[in-house]
Amino acid sequence: MSKALLYDATMCIGCKQCEAGCAQQNKLRYDDTVAAESVQSAHKYTVVLTKDDKFMRRLCMHCEKPACASVCPVGAFHKTKEGPVVYDVWKCIGCRYCMVACAFAQPKYEWQSLNPRVRKCIMCPDRIAAGKQTACAEICPTGATKFGERDDLIKEAQDRIRQNPSTYLPRIYGLHEVGGTSVLILSSVNVEEYGYPASAKIGDTPMPEYTGQVMERIPDFIPVWTLVLGGIYWVSHRREEVAAAEAEEKNGSER
């Protein structure tokens, strides 16, 4: 059973308490300037966006099959069994493949640092391990961000849609996208309007499968290709040896 977050945009009042709580939990500066920033960055893991009096939160989706974890050459990312996708900074070599690979463009970089780290929401793994909910869910005054078991939250989201079909769009963003994510979103408008990638575009296939299809062939490819190359080598040089031997024989008989 893995934990998840359900964000219900219709319940959000745009108070940005989640931003502040997140900053405090991750020991990041949070003041009026940071609060006014409407983009995620290395010092702002989550952001509440406003559009036509409607709000939308953005944060790492914590994919069930995360692209970042699959592409990292040193395995600096991994999905814990509790749900969070966490980052081990001491392994990171700074190739930034995670940033390029993430369909939700969540990993951000400390571009100004001389020993830069990748930064993103890590879903408060220490709090979860201690049996608590994430900082953003705890601080949320309206319950727009709710923490719980993923399966329970899916049921609850489905119930909410069923009970108020006029309020919600009939879909849970994150239920199937890229194979499912640990952040689920309910809203009355399309999340795509706030910069989320379109479901149709990212699809339901877990991202690691795109490269996995190629990578899993490599163990078979290596011995086969080695044999082919070795075979060509042997044949072409065998021919040479035979020719040399024949030439020698010819020379010998002529003498």
């Binding site: 571009w111 001389l114 290709w225 190359l229």
Partner: protein
């Protein structure tokens, strides 16, 4: 020995000076200060050119080793050494480029202990590391020969078949895997360039560029070092290049056809302009040129066709790495001058090291015996390349 200030030396000094300044910015002010890379554009010119193009431009090494030692194309013997040298330098410079691009280059060795076998990047890293070692051993006989050390040459000759097979295997893997890197970004990379066939394109283009680079390099070396230009070699390479280009063109056509993109690629758009430029340089011009026998038999024609091919595939890789992401990101990425200057410095280092190696090592052994060189084609290739000629036996 007096140091003469020629035009190219001045250019070299200026490039190195600016490059050193940019390197200072890179390591003492950070990636943000030295480049225009952002959270939206985490990979810039250094990945696009230094890495993707650098590895492609060094493909001549495995192509020539494959042609001469695997398929026994005797007539190409004289270009193996310069091709292996170019490849060896190319891979070293690729690693140098990586040290600039990685955020924490001092942890590059983590590849060896925190392995993630699911990562394409990990596979590329391991292949490049191993292949650079293989190239080092393929290059080593030059040094041993220079100092007349015969015993170690014998050892290398013994393992040469292993080096050849391993080198080509590793090249196949990582040349294609550079394309696989982009397979995980179907929603980000523009459909003109995103294709499930990317690994095949990357490998096929590496072979074409390997051939073109060998023609380019032989012609340039002939000019720069006053060597006799071996036309039969170039003609053979030109023929092979034509075939390689056709294979590339058919692969691309088949891919666009299968994905139903043929209609779209002809509609004018920002990406289409770059695609047209790429396709013109990679296929239209060189294939047309090489289709004429007159061009295939003329050194100038072959030279121009190969330069065009190389530029075309550089455009292709830059399109994949940079242009293909601009629509997704929503704005343009233009490298900062310091990014260009570091790339230029790395290229300049490559030229300088190549020049030094040619000057002090028997890379073009035939040069010292112009009479024997002409004999070589009729008798045995052994004369020109005493070590490598036997190496495969």
């Amino acid at each position: 020995m007096k140091f003469k200030l020629t035009f190219w030396r001045v250019v070299f000094i200026v490039i190195m000076g600016l490059g050193l300044y940019s390197s200072f910015i890179r390591y003492f002010r950070g990636l943000g200060a030295v480049s225009n890379m952002t959270d939206q554009f985490p990979w810039g010119l250094w990945i696009g050119f230094d890495c993707l193009c650098g590895v492609m431009l060094a493909a001549g090494g495995f192509c020539m080793v494959g042609a001469v030692y695997l398929f026994n194309v005797e007539s190409l013997h004289s270009v193996v050494r310069p091709a292996v040298l170019t490849a060896f330098l190319g891979y070293i410079l690729f690693i140098v480029g990586l040290l600039f691009d990685l955020g924490r280059p001092w942890y590059i060795w983590h590849q060896l202990i925190y392995m993630n076998p699911h990562s394409v990047m990990f596979e590329v890293g391991m292949c490049v590391m191993t292949y650079t070692t293989v190239l080092f051993f393929e290059f080593l006989p030059n040094v041993f020969e220079r100092f007349h050390m015969t015993t170690p040459i014998k050892w290398i000759k013994k393992i040469y078949p292993v080096l050849i097979v391993l080198g080509i295997l590793l090249s196949t893997l990582h040349q294609s895997s550079l394309g696989s890197l982009y397979l995980i970004m179907p929603s980000k990379l523009h459909p003109f360039w995103y294709s499930p066939a990317l690994p095949f394109f990357f490998f096929a283009s590496a072979v074409a560029v390997g051939l073109a680079m060998t023609i380019f390099e032989s012609t340039q070396s002939a000019k720069a070092f006053g060597r006799h230009l071996e036309l039969p070699v170039l003609v053979t390479l030109g023929g092979a290049l034509l075939v390689a280009l056709w294979v590339n063109a058919l692969l691309r056509f088949e891919d666009y056809f299968r994905r139903g993109m043929l209609g779209q690629i002809f509609k004018p758009s920002y990406e289409a302009y770059f695609l047209w430029l790429e396709l013109t340089l990679t296929f239209v011009i060189p294939i047309t040129m090489l289709s004429f026998k007159k061009v295939r038999l003329s050194p100038q024609g072959l030279y121009l066709a190969s330069v065009c091919t190389v530029l075309g595939f550089i455009t292709n890789r830059l399109n994949i790495a940079l242009i293909g992401f601009e629509t997704y990101v929503g704005h343009h990425y233009v490298p900062k001058w310091t990014e260009f200057s570091i790339t230029l410095m790395i290229i300049a280092m490559g030229f300088a090291l190549f020049g030094l190696a040619v000057k002090y090592l028997p890379i073009f052994p035939a040069e010292r015996h112009p009479a024997k060189q002409r004999l070589r084609t009729e008798t045995a290739p052994v004369v020109a390349t005493p070590v490598l000629g036997h190496a495969g036996d």
